[in-house]
């Protein structure tokens, strides 16, 4: 970029403050759905997000690796049951992501 252009748009920030794990649309949808509730099972998330089993599992794996979601082994009667919920890290990461996005779009005029 030439020095002349730098003067015209001096304050533009690189798009790095958006958490790349959350920023992917499918994972953003999963995070948003989990953010507004306490926990849900896999089927509920599948229905809410309209994702396929494979798609949802692969995104959940990535969110789990990032420490944003946790799997809770539970029992319904005698049957084992798995619930998924956001971790504290996941909740604050989503909060921070929301604030950053708001700041970004508020800055655009």
């Amino acid at each position: 970029m030439s020095k002349k252009n730098e003067k015209i748009i001096p304050d533009i920030q690189p798009f790095e403050f958006a958490d790349k794990v959350i920023h992917e649309p499918a994972r953003l949808t999963i995070m948003a759905h989990l953010f507004v509730i306490e926990s849900a099972d896999f089927l509920f998330l599948m229905r809410q997000t309209n994702m396929t089993f494979g798609n949802l599992s692969s995104h959940l794996k990535k969110l789990e690796e990032a420490g944003y979601v946790e799997i809770i082994k539970d029992f319904i009667g005698k049957k084992p049951h798995t619930m998924i919920r956001l971790t504290k890290t996941g909740r604050s990461a989503f909060d921070a992501y929301k604030k950053n996005m708001k700041k970004l779009f508020d800055g655009l005029s």
């Binding site: 509730i37 849900a40 509920f44 998330l45 229905r47 959940l60 049951h81």
Partner: protein
């Protein structure tokens, strides 16, 4: 992305299975059927009413467990939503306790005020509408506003028909017709729900 709307959508999905409509419809229908059973069999109407009440509740819980949950999964809602449910429970308990107290006061003749039947009708009608409206508001379940009107209106109709029809047919028509309409609405909602969310077999995420 509207997070509040997202939460509301998740919550309301659990009312779109029709089981609430069927349960409330059966409760209203029972008010009409129990006096008819009493009339035919001579058994006090409270017994068939309690049996049918338990049957309706059992149907509700079985439906939720074996029809709804396997189709849309399970979820634990936020504390805010749990507090709203608690408020509804408190309103229902207050309404029932007040109803029982008022009934006891007059049934046991602890109060010797002669109140016209029209006032009783108005009182129960308003109580039904208020309780259902509070439930509809806190549960974000809009059809409850309509069902509040159904309950209230059915009390008026049953009382009005008392002057035209012999007992228990006034109750059967007054409560039964609107109760049956609610059950039909519930069945239609349930059919749509089952069609929209077919069983996918057991989905296990490890």
């Amino acid at each position: 992305m509207d997070l509040e709307a997202l939460e509301k959508k998740s919550w309301q999905r659990f009312f779109n299975d029709g089981f609430w409509d069927i349960l409330l419809g059966l409760l209203l229908l029972n008010f009409g059927l129990a006096p008819v059973i009493e009339y035919i069999s001579g058994i006090d109407y409270l017994y068939p009413y309690i049996i049918m009440l338990f049957a309706a509740e059992a149907l509700f819980f079985v439906g939720k467990k074996f029809v709804t949950a396997p189709r849309i999964g399970r979820v634990k809602f936020s504390k805010k939503r749990k507090q709203k449910k608690l408020k509804v429970s408190i309103v229902l308990v207050i309404s029932v306790v007040l109803g029982v107290c008022v009934y006891a006061l007059f049934a046991l003749q602890l109060v010797s005020v002669n109140i016209s039947a029209y006032w009783w009708v108005a009182l129960f009608c308003i109580n039904a509408i208020v309780v259902f409206s509070v439930m509809a508001y806190f549960l974000d379940f809009k059809r409850l506003y309509l069902y509040g009107l159904f309950f209230g209106f059915s009390i008026i109709v049953a009382e009005f028909l008392r002057t035209i029809l012999q007992h228990p047919y006034n109750a059967l028509i007054g409560f039964g017709v609107l109760g049956a309409i609610m059950v039909v609405i519930g069945l239609v909602v349930l059919a749509r729900f089952v069609k929209r969310y077919p069983l996918d077999g057991e989905i296990v995420y490890e």
